[in-house]
Amino acid sequence: MNLIEAVTNKFPDLVICSHSQHGDQTVIIRKEGLGTLMKFLKYDPQLDFNILMDITAVDYLNYPPSPLTALPHGEKAREGACRFEMVYHLYSLKYNHRLRVKAPVELEAAQIDSLAELWPVADWFEREVWDMFGIRFKGHPNLKRLLMYEEFEGHPLRKDYPYNKRQPIVVSRESSVKASTDDSRPTTDD
């Protein structure tokens, strides 16, 4: 079944572009319609995506040449360069098919709808994305860091976070404010 066609026919205004590189069917949509689309994908009897396999994000800060033409498959270029892209992997148990949904998210007001009401597992996956990328989720019941500790500053999977930067594991609240000004540059002397 051509999932891309099914989605595009239903939401022609929402879909920015699509591809099926390496056989992975992918639609890239406007983030405003994420909640509507996901509800449709989950409850439509022809699609029946009952498992949300994964939620993650990608930081397109360094992707050459630019996120505008980042799509490797030569299909129509995407409008508006966005810093992040949310990536959702869906699976349908009944029809044994997979779909990848991507939604660009800009750096300013990095926010997108939460799916925690549709799939409870989205709760933890979205907490991880918030932790690692600093993207907020509208309507999330408990948006706090999942893997890092509360005092951690910054979002480590962003491309502008140096991989060798060190932070004290436990700092008191007052000293952390002071330390943040010193720690802003990457440290390499470890």
Binding site: M53, D54, P64, P72, V121, D123, L147, P156, Y163
Partner: protein, 457 residues
């Protein structure tokens, strides 16, 4: 919300009794040192729970972006450290998907055999550890003995017990050693013997069954909504198994059954794992009988099989025509030349490069092998999949283990994402233990088979 560790706070519950807030872990022995559960108790009953993870976070995904494609491989060993080979193959399969590559027949069977050996070690550890936590130390020792037979096989093939790093793009590091089939079959016979012993020891053991049956129940609908896969999902009666649903490697050529449970409780999960080990042994035996002699490496760019001797000659084609124009910009940290200069070296000749590492004898023994090795290992050289993205799911010990790799056309992966199979059950854990007793947490948590390496990455 702030939690004060090591301090018990009391507040009045609605029933008029005092409820108690208490920390379980990370120092609790059954929490493996890496999980903290904040419990609100009314007597022995859990009224509220919050699970905190992240104690073993080692920035796997960030570190994968720093090195080249092969340098990310050793990190995958440390994801699920009880079945590292499955992680190895899963990651390599995702990179091969980026290349649009099919590895050789023999490689596929080797991957199936080693994946299944790893699956058995994974399940043995899970059952052994959770039996031990429930007081059955004997069963734990028996199962560790069985695991030892299998780890010896893994060591025989890969040279290491845990840090295997055995997969390569387009193949595996080396062929199976001589006599591997006989050794494996002998080890499987021993494992079978131990399994039937443990079966008699545990499956109808009144104490063991009472601790597991009807405890930690999760419905089919909840399990699906929580994205749970693997033995955990199958215990609820859903027969989803990546090996059957979307066969990869050679799983479509071997015959095996997918066991499912009925109620989705801890006892069902125990039974499903026991049966899966027997099925895995069936798969290994079939794979050995169907496997033929043949090469284990292919060239990712052309899909051609690489013979050992040819590989040495082809290294001379290192496409270095523009090299003299390059201003050497080697920095003191030996990070090699810059990306821009590299692009001038390989204007369009990327297809000429080999991606399999040469045999160690060639690397140390002749200049061609050394050049080839250098070209593949040094930063700024390396293998370069075409631009794109790929998601490849394999059936790990705990469920669907997916690798989502994005290539930007350079030698470093732009993004590597792991779909950790034991994160969804851990997300559901708080709901599952609510309403039960404190002692049931141990049984339920044990059946999740939480492996912190892949949970926290």
């Amino acid at each position: 919300m702030e939690y004060k560790p090591l301090e018990v706070t009391r507040e009045r519950a609605s029933s008029g009794t005092e409820s108690m807030r208490i920390n379980m872990g990370p120092a609790h022995p059954a929490m493996h040192g890496v999980i903290r559960i904040m419990l609100t108790l009314d007597g022995e009953t859990v009224t509220d729970a919050e699970v905190e993870i992240g104690y073993l976070h080692r920035a796997f995904e960030k570190m994968c972006e720093q090195g080249n494609y092969l340098q990310a491989l050793p990190y995958t060993d440390r994801l699920n450290y009880v079945s590292p080979l499955i992680n190895n193959f899963g990651y390599m399969a995702a990179v091969e998907k980026l290349f649009g590559l099919q590895c050789t027949e023999r490689t596929q069977y080797i991957r199936v055999i080693l994946s299944e050996i790893s699956r058995i070690t994974d399940h043995l550890t899970c059952i052994g550890a959770s039996a031990m936590e429930l007081g059955s130390f004997t069963a734990f020792l028996y199962l560790m003995k069985a695991r030892e037979f299998l780890y010896e096989l893994v060591e025989d093939v890969t040279g290491a017990r845990l840090t295997v790093s055995y997969a390569r793009v387009g193949g595996v590091k080396a062929d199976l050693p001589a006599g591997c089939k006989e050794k494996t079959l002998k080890a499987l016979a021993e494992v079978r013997k131990i399994l039937s012993e443990c079966d008699r020891l545990l499956t109808r053991n009144r104490i063991f069954v009472d601790r597991l049956e009807g405890v930690g129940v999760i419905s089919k609908e909840d399990a699906l909504a929580y994205g749970i896969t693997g033995p955990f999902l199958r215990s609820t009666g859903v027969d989803y198994d990546v090996r059957k649903a979307q066969p990869y490697f050679a799983y479509d050529r071997v015959d095996f059954d997918v066991p499912v449970g009925l109620q989705g409780d801890n006892y069902d999960r125990y039974l499903v794992r026991m049966e899966e080990m027997r099925q895995s042994m069936r798969i290994i035996e079939q794979a050995f009988s169907k496997m033929k002699e043949g090469p284990v490496q292919v060239n990712p760019f052309t899909g051609e099989v690489i013979a050992g001797a040819k590989m040495v000659d082809e290294a001379k084609l290192g496409h270095t025509s523009g090299l003299l124009e390059i201003k050497a910009a080697v920095d003191p940290t030996l990070d090699g030349t810059s990306k821009y200069d590299q692009q001038k070296i390989y204007p369009s000749g990327e297809k000429e490069k080999r991606v399999m590492l040469p045999a160690k004898e060639n690397t140390y023994g002749n200049i061609e092998g050394l050049m080839n090795h250098f070209k593949l290992i040094m930063i700024g050289h390396g293998i370069r999949p075409p631009k794109g993205e790929a998601y490849f799911p394999v059936e790990g010990g705990n469920g669907e283990l997916g690798f989502y790799v994005i290539s930007d056309g350079t030698d470093k992966p732009y993004r590597v994402r792991v779909r950790p199979p034991c994160l969804p059950p851990m997300a559901a854990l708080a709901n599952m233990i609510q309403g039960g007793t404190v002692a049931d947490i141990i049984a339920t948590f044990g059946s999740v088979n939480m492996i912190a390496g892949e949970l926290d990455r």
